[in-house]
């Protein structure tokens, strides 16, 4: 069975070669693959700035700086995982429902093949399609959602599908179990006081951006652990979760967010959970708009977040192996 890992950067410089995520091989045959990095280049769901269709390419470019040993978590990721870059899912610019159909049709077989998808958006509307495909295999998902917005509007301009509504839709469609889901980091002004309560009324737990500074990464991780229990978990990370100083290249920035370091600390704490790892079945990193980025700061943040999420997979697998060995 093949084992896939990044090209050796001591042999060819990291700026060399066709741009795949982390210099992984570009492979579409899923035999022997644990996780696949997959782009969803789509931005018709965006309500303000647009351009996330170029997000996957930008994240791939920036990911050349990632290396296989996660020094924060002290794990050689590819000792435990075989991973590939699968390329991009099909989309139709300007056609959100058709794009959903194509994304779901293309993504479902990957999930069915037992591969964990690490998805690169696209605006946040693509997460609805991601959840449709993943929940088709794993059932209702526990969502862990890092963002400065809840994205639980009912509609925008009387339309149901766009980047402000995916988690309302996902709840209605039964893709999520909101009672085991959690949203973290919402901040910025709203249209209405009720906006605050929409997500909570749907059943989500919300730790907003004003409460968040009171949580240490460990406390937040425990909170998440408790919330999701042993349900299959999907993590969605919108880069506007962090302050625009750390992620200028995004569509609807909100001033006053956490730093990149804090964001990474929150994610890393999920790898050190006392009760064992999350049952992590998929994730996406969304809303990178390279036309507004500079020096690839946002794209590199997204690539690093994706690598930290992959690391959580590796940690879970390592732990499982260890437990199996102990039996």
């Amino acid at each position: 069975m093949p084992h896939y890992e990044p090209a050796d950067s001591f042999e060819t410089p990291r700026f060399t070669g066709i741009r795949t995520f982390m210099r992984l091989p570009y492979v579409t045959d899923l035999e022997g693959v644990d996780f696949a990095v997959i782009g969803t280049p789509f931005d018709t769901g965006a309500s303000y700035r647009v351009g996330a269709r170029f997000g996957p390419a930008a994240i791939r470019n920036a990911s050349a700086l990632q290396r296989p040993f996660n020094a924060a978590q002290k794990i050689r990721v590819y000792d435990h995982l075989s991973g590939v870059d699968y390329g991009d899912l099909p989309t139709v610019p300007g056609q959100i429902e058709e794009s959903y159909r194509r994304i779901v049709a293309a993504l479902t077989p990957i999930v069915l093949a037992g591969v964990t998808p690490v998805l690169l958006g696209g605006d946040h509307s693509v997460t609805l399609a991601h959840l449709r495909a993943v929940s088709k295999v794993h059932g209702p998902l526990a969502l862990v959602h890092f963002d400065s917005h809840s994205d639980t509007w009912d509609s925008y301009f009387d339309f149901k599908y766009n980047h402000g509504t995916p988690f309302k839709r996902a709840t209605e469609e039964g893709l999520l179990d909101p009672h085991h889901s959690i949203q973290i980091g919402m901040r910025g002004p709203l249209y209405d006081p009720e906006d605050l309560d929409v997500a909570r009324n749907l059943g989500f737990e919300v730790i907003d951006g004003y409460e968040l500074p009171q949580y240490s990464p460990e406390q937040l991780a425990r909170k998440i652990r408790e919330r999701v229990g042993d349900r299959p978990v999907f993590i969605t990370f919108d880069v506007d979760f962090v302050d625009p100083a750390f992620a200028p290249g995004t569509g609807t920035s909100e001033i006053g967010g956490p730093s990149s370091r804090q964001a990474l600390d929150y994610l890393r704490a999920l790898g050190q959970l006392p009760g064992g790892p999350l049952k992590f079945v998929g994730c996406d990193v969304v809303e990178v708009l390279p036309a507004y980025d500079h020096a690839e700061v946002t794209a590199l943040l997204a690539a690093t977040v994706a690598f930290e999420l992959i690391t959580l997979l590796a940690l879970a697998k390592a732990q499982a192996k260890q437990q199996a060995g102990q039996l």
Copy 2:
């Protein structure tokens, strides 16, 4: 009856005040108005780079540098015309057909009121809505189309409405009379040799970007004159008509186009036609994407093109007045 003209830049500096086109008053009551500058902030029709929704704002910002006397044409534009900035037409990002409905509904009464619309896109898909509204009042239009692409595809990804198809649709819908229409400047690679002929088969005359250098501005103007005859004329100007050195801020650049000076010369020659002015009933300037612009070069080009088109209106009115006077 009110007369509207730009704020006096000897009284308040040009960088002062709410950004309207050319510092015209922002007015939505159409009494006494000859032309209205109107934005159509929409880009869901874009097949590659996106962001033309911010085009109208960018063109307004840059237009502060325009002044009322057109020195090339030697005419004081506001001696002959009263003009306003009408603001933007309603659109729904992500919903092209609904946006068309809203644009047409909002634009038609303006045209009916006898006001000549000077429209600022938006990607080129918005022109279909512009043509629907204008032809509803003026009947089938003679199109004068400056662009590096014909935009006469039948569909993209099996979808009928986007920025590659407006002139196919407009012909089918009878909004245009292709036999009195002309396309100028098409260049860049195509998918197929037949692509070259689609527009011609629809009935358009096409002077492609390889033939164009053989025409002097005067020859081109005469060619256009001849083609459109005395039919009502709509002029559509895609900024990618010029070389990307002169218009970097656009969505689907084609290397090797004319310069800004050449583009202006073509337009200005239309004001000096021997057989009298075109019967000019509306125009748009499209595909300005400020996120890719620098130093407002593209936005300023678009603002200047819009001013040259307004000048054509003024010249026609001046000529009409003169002729009336001579009777």
Copy 3:
């Protein structure tokens, strides 16, 4: 009596329309107006980088992302306030004293009409004109000044008026009561040890940027409360108060400042004062230079700061109403 509030962004997208602050109506008739957002596009006072004349336009552009419910303060701002965008004050580029005259002449009637001005600079020299107009109506003001510089030089190159001197001048002219004023955040190298003491010798309390990290937002708010007492308060916020990572688009950046989140926390704490709200009569946000900004990070910070200041007004009015109701 008219009530003014932002355009509904569920009806027209936020990227639509003539750019006014927060999509407020552009109105110059002050009946029924509680606060007016007003630009002062002027930068002749700048000693290093220039370009703040384009600050008001940039802040207006970025403010489209602001929405009317302040989620941090949990208040629907326009339930308590009617607000407009009044446009810009007249200035003469290159002529600071003449500009002061024109600004004061235009601003004074607005203040006299009982409208609270929320002013958008311009370089920091414009604050002297703002203070002249506001103190003409409200008497000597208590200044709350967020900045990385004291701006209390006596002169620069033997000239009295520029962005390094406004608070020296304001004190001399009796516009301020320095003994009830406070400066916060000064940092970065100086010309002389005495520079440190100039502001203090004038009577200001100064919490410099090295002491500031020792204050929690609540402690700082109490300190300010104590200092200003029940005098009429003018808040001036120079965006270089924050670190240049959070505000690159400014003129005289000083490395090592607070984050955007910290700045917002300081302002928000002023809305939660135990002894009741400040008697807040005017404010400005200055030194936004869009030519040095990227992805509108600085302009969006300034827009957010302005909205937080407007929220303080709303909170005060809400509290007053509540107290009136309790009587």
Copy 4:
């Protein structure tokens, strides 16, 4: 035998997928391949600005806009050619001679396999390695060199290998036949009057940038034709051949060059030669520095130039087929 051509952009949008040149398949098995696009990401030879190591990736990104039918030459390129993106050649940043060894070792087998290499630099020093590999198979080459500099210095700082010396070295090494080679476009100040004559003394014909405007594209093409005769031709195109307005993203810009349109016209005229096509055995496009580019203008120019060169191959093959058919 496999036939390779670009992905169909009516099926998946052009912004989709792993970035290869023109959306060609990424293939390293050379069976059935007529030409291979290959990157040489190297910039240690640069004497002023650096960063051409990111050139191949940038050109690939921009090339997504290229389509398979060359409308200027009226040829469906992939009816005549099968082409792939081969990825990048190995280099060692900081080590020019070692990089030369690795490039030559990797490139020679490709040329030996009968594949025409279309190489993407890299700074101009890489052309020496390209010439070593190509001439190893085809013997001394006739060089057609578009550039604003002759790059025929003997040494820089006493060192023999850098981007100022490749054509001196290539002549010394017998890779070129200077008497059948031609340099076009040299301009800008020099160190010494003798600098003008170095290339001529080596045997090159030089049409400098001051003489060039006197040549029509057809005249230039005939001049080149005459010069190279029926020798195997290598075309090297440095993007600083054009004016920096058309190619800002390069390392040693010279003001006052031709436009993009003129550059394309020169290349296209080579496809319409009366005496039959050039015997074209390889080419490179060099000195794209994306860190200095904006809106991908330079990268898109380079991608277009590469496509025009590929078109010359297709035209030659079409002509050969036709002649064979006529026999």
Copy 5:
């Protein structure tokens, strides 16, 4: 007597060392100096975009690419001239009249010392100060003025000194002889038809931007020659003379200007005059705003223009030497 010339770029790379113009020594002792490059970092006269105070530094940075042999004119400039970078003249930001006093006081002794000043602006208002100093020594000057604006307004906002008025003032003060002066390239809209005539009524000959394309460089040079006769000539070059594609980094761009190549051709033709060289006593290059530039395109244009002007000096001196030798 000392002879000054640029550092040898074969010894130290051109990106090395304190940034002086063309890597000339920074010298303020004028013995043995033929020409001095001098900055006038001032922009208080600007009516729209500001930032030309950083122009001299930007031009110096870009000038590192200039080399001492002018290949277009075929002259080794420093065989005939000794030149230095003198640094910057004193200015007071925000104070135009005081700045004029300081500039004139500092520049006059340089001119008196027989040194030809090559001045780097600054906005165009600085030229008035330059002319005051130069005419003090040489008497009324013949002006050769390349620009897209006449800069002959009487006042702006009732103020007499700014970048729109210098040549009106200079004429009034007798610094110029307008009847032997010429303005070239004016284009773009105006406030009034009379604006066209202001300069002509003052006595200037004006070849506007619409007539200019009819002149070959040689014809233009002869026209200039004729106009200035044997009077002392001052050349002033505003970079907005060229199209913004070639000079984005400026303050009041006008679309539709000549290219950089055309601008250089006009200047170079002045070196090949049949009736002998102009009596050239000083020059400036103005309105470079680096905050709006990219890839140093504008700064490099300005540096090249300055070098071409220096070359005219060298050509004149060479010719004089030759004539002396022939006697």
Copy 6:
């Protein structure tokens, strides 16, 4: 004996004059000089992004904002020190070993003259040359190294000299005493778990980026103090030590680092050591790549770091004077 200090910015604006560090005089005669700011414009050692050769010029430009009184440390630096800008050391782009030879040859006499060098890189490979020169005079050095990478690889692509290896080489060559050296801030993924231990196995103490947040500036300073003892100390500061939000303009960014304020606090705490100042004999600030910077944020950080390091010298000298006075 001469005393050198910055130009008075109350006399000439800070944007005026030839760009030297902090507006210090450009002097190469070392009499009376305590410290010299010296550039090392070299980047051939870079493994990913390149362009640090323009670092010294960018840092000099940004340093114009520095003023002589360090308000954080409350010391008038030039009361204690005489300092100059010495210009740049000689390098050969593309030739690392030759550049080392030239740097060492030029730097050694400066160190021998008793001048403390404050060096501006350049990529981090230049530090090896700096250490060779400084240790030649002062013997094995105690290194204090702020960075996100250890730079202690043995080789890259089998080559010994580049920006990933300087501290391995320095240890081998005996330039450092690793047992009295300390590395601070290493973070980001690695190739291998062993990578973590390379520096430690060489003898360095390493406080990695994950441990660092646990140290207060004072604790870190004491740790450093303890480690280096009274050995001669060289401080090397790679700007990628801080998060890319604070230093976008660098070559191998690692997300999740400290802020600028934290970095300055660490340095400033070194000036307040209980056991007396460090025996500080030299320093460098490296890896500024202006092509990736914006609004000079990174360059200004580097300039500020250099000024803080100079302040440490001043504090040590002041303390020494005081102690001498007390005897």
